[in-house]
Symmetry: C2
Subunit: 242 residues, 2 copies
């Protein structure tokens, strides 16, 4: 099975959570966001599925994955589908549901991180909502950021099978996503996250371990992984981290 991943070109965004799972598993996939339009990639390839009249089960937004004739949207749902196929979840149904629950909590966290720079809506530029973004970020840094991080630290701590991963004995797709969120926070909120993570040694260790895995290292070094930038979810505005 050669998977096809559809996402916005030029940013890591939510597509990156899917990429990390595919990369860690060594899965074969075509990343349409990296393919030029002339070769059938880019935004037009994506729009065909979002806006096409003949798509039976259209996704609401990217990322979405094509797996044979199936079209699967919503990041956490894609990972729910891929997890067993890529060997990134344990066998027991209860464990899989718990890992999905963690992924959904990460999705909530990611949405709140995004909204620090776009509290009024994606329909306005950052510059049009800078004052509101500063106010929202203050609340985020003081309340939400430590709350989420301490929660995930506690989850690792209470994992009876390992003090390293969020769930079970082995790395799961939720660990990959967790590491990606931490990397994003290092970029967007270096001061606030350094401070909040002082109480979270297990999260820091998880982040290091994920990015030290051979396939993830190879992926990061390949040039295919885009750098964080101020078009994505995680954005670096000094005034929001002060």
């Amino acid at each position: 099975m050669i998977y096809e991943l559809y996402y916005w070109p030029g940013i890591q965004g939510r597509g990156e959570f899917v990429r990390l799972a595919l990369e860690e598993a060594g899965a074969e996939y075509r990343d349409l966001a990296l393919l030029p339009e002339a070769q059938g990639g880019g935004v037009p390839a994506m729009m065909k599925f979002l806006d096409g009249d003949d798509v039976a089960r259209p996704p609401f937004a990217p990322p979405f994955l094509k797996a044979g004739r199936r079209l699967i949207g919503q990041t956490a749902n894609i990972l729910l589908f891929l997890g067993p196929r890529l060997g990134l979840v344990p066998r027991a149904a209860a464990d899989r549901l718990w890992i999905h629950q963690l992924q959904l909590t990460l999705a909530d966290f990611v949405a709140e991180i995004h909204d620090t720079h776009h509290p009024i809506g994606a329909g306005y530029y950052y510059e049009e909502q800078k004052a509101e973004a500063k106010r929202r970020s203050r609340d985020f840094r003081a309340q939400r950021l430590p709350k989420f991080l301490h929660y995930f630290e506690r989850v690792i701590e209470r994992n009876p099978d390992s003090g390293r991963w969020l769930a079970g004995r082995q790395l799961s797709y939720a660990d990959l996503s967790m590491a990606q969120v931490l990397a994003g926070l290092d970029f967007a909120f270096p001061l606030a996250s350094k401070s909040a993570l002082r109480a979270c040694p297990r999260l820091r260790a998880l982040q290091r371990e994920v990015f030290a895995r051979p396939r993830i290292k190879r992926y990061v070094a390949s040039g295919r992984r885009l750098a964080f930038n101020n078009e994505g979810i995680f954005r670096r505005y000094r005034e929001l981290d002060a």
Copy 2:
């Protein structure tokens, strides 16, 4: 199996999506939010699981469901678990994944609806973010509300098995959640949703059909279903719907 549902007392909130599924299926459940503290219900019952030192897999936030010894958090994840048990999803794995994808898209919609009155964060009162709420609601009414509604209308339209439900031949938990969102919008944004729903006859029919189902009617009439109020997700502020 007698399920136990934990949620904030006094509001429908996200707990209501779970309640509607349990009610439609005629499942036995204890609604801890409706039980007085003196009888082991209310906020303390919930906090025991959120803050308890001995909870192996703590949820991040309510609602969460206790099913035997299992504790399951995240609304969409609870419904993913309950769907097959309550007969609220078809048999095929692909259909179940699609219904879950729709539920996650509804969850995104619900988060955006919530943020119309709390764009700066749940840490501030509405009165402290009224100007920002007006601005965010303007974007919501003009862009996001019609975008989401037209999307779901299209999903029903393209369902090859029925022109009535979001997916498959029978009602699923996503249909119940869809109807609940529409009821909430009627309360919070009566003008904007009336206008946006003019182009969505299938959604209006779905809403009517759901609330006409015998068990849902009985539930609504029971007094157990709380009224919408300005403490929940859907809030009625005239200035946000003008």
